[in-house]
Symmetry: C2
Subunit: 272 residues, 2 copies
């Protein structure tokens, strides 16, 4: 319960007391329709944004917009999504985290709550994001990872994948590597790193992990990059074709859009 | 569809053609009521044994008992459970695996099918089993591991746990480390190894993993061993008390029975 402050009827006073709350969130994408609140959605899964706004309202009595660092699509997971919301509360950071987790379903957890300066904006202030795309390269189905890892089956040529990835690092027009939303918005982005590792997972699986870090991502961009690199790893496409898809800004020259199942927003970074 | 062989009406001929099929199974314990078929069960989750028997019957037209290397309890996972069933089939090993996986829910997978000698028995012939108990030692809730790892929260003293575990290795009467079923059956078992590791998991978690290998396990034995070692790791119990619980064969002197959530049957081994 919120304590009464005596300022409830004074909008001016009230706005002075608002806290800007930064949330670090982890969620299992399988349980949600994606980040964005869609009013009158037909989908029976809730959106993450809507769910958070409802719980914030339950806790504080205030209907406020929760802003995410970006919209993750339906099915996409997050280990460290960041969001912020401005509300009037007397709860401490720890209390707010506890109150939210008490009310949220187990498939989403608030990992961290911090009160930040009034100017902090989870989307505009983000300087980089890292996405992880996980690919299982053993020819098997795994009951434990099936909702989190893309089952590609079979050996991948990591050296070829890394060489192809190197063409994508830097500042480029990624028009060929996104699903065009026909909104005319700029498609230039900077990828600072693509790191590709191979490791055993907890279930005797063998995974190739593609970590992509950049200043921002276009619609489906990481999934198309992963799909293109997967085709290179399988020797279904040559390395040169990746450079060509980039230069010619032609979506049809890049690879398939891989499923959301293997995609996870690992972290979002801000200026210190 | 099975090809007709012309022997359908001749029980003698038919039994000669029976194949003894060894199955290696992986399952997510959350989806099942446990291994054992319970007729007229009230539980809405299916038992693994019953499900396999139904699918075998669908494929071969024969109602046969599927025998497991042991009964895993409700909620317990398996990476490499072994079972066998004797049926008359003209399918190859690969075809049988395919037919089963086509029909089984995604939470259980047949990892391997082999036709073995008529005398092979998945329970009697097992020479050792390895169980894994997973404990998350970070103070956090994880949306990805919450159904597979026990959330213990906080540092554990691994050296103390390993020393306590060393008392349990060998041939002992484990009466103090099982839930008594009052069936008067012998409670002497041999543990050949308890290996305790600490590692990061795929989701930035920190896990302590307790691998227990032995010739057989009593009811709740691994979960009580894990619970006892957890208490040692937390310095809630001294190492000496573990030896005493074993020697005095007194359940009340051992630790808590940990939840099934962290338990997984890793593998079952047979004579070569």
């Amino acid at each position: 319960m919120q304590k009464k402050t005596g300022f409830e009827n004074s909008p001016n006073q009230r706005s002075k007391m608002k806290k800007n709350i930064k949330l670090v969130l982890s969620y299992d994408g399988n349980a949600f329709s994606g980040w964005q609140r869609v009013d009158n959605a037909k989908e029976n899964k809730p959106s993450i944004q809507k769910l958070l706004e409802e719980k914030i309202e339950e806790i504080t009595g205030q209907k406020e917009k929760v802003t995410g660092s970006g919209r993750t699509d339906a099915g996409v997971h997050a280990l460290g999504q960041v969001a912020n919301v401005q509300v009037d509360t007397e709860y401490s950071e720890e209390q707010m985290k506890h109150e939210l987790n008490e009310r949220l379903p187990a498939e989403i957890r608030v990992m961290d709550v911090t009160f930040v300066g009034a100017s902090f904006h989870s989307r505009y202030d983000a300087v980089s994001k890292t996405y992880l795309y996980r690919i299982d390269t053993k020819e098997r189905e795994c009951v434990f990872t099936r909702k989190y890892v893309y089952p590609a089956g079979g050996h991948l040529d990591l050296n070829a994948m890394r060489e192809a990835a190197s063409y994508l690092v830097g500042t480029h027009d990624f028009k060929g590597f996104c699903t065009d939303r026909k909104d005319g918005k700029p498609t230039v982005r900077t990828i600072t790193e693509i790191r590709i590792t191979e490791e055993k997972n907890n279930y005797h699986g063998q995974e190739v992990r593609i970590y992509v870090t950049g200043n921002g991502f276009l619609y489906h961009m990481v999934r198309i990059i992963a799909g293109t690199l997967l085709e290179v790893g399988r020797s279904e496409r040559d390395i040169e074709s990746v450079r060509r898809a980039l230069e010619e800004k032609d979506r049809s020259l890049a690879g398939q859009t891989l499923s959301s199942i293997g995609l996870c927003l690992e972290k979002v970074e801000y200026k210190k």
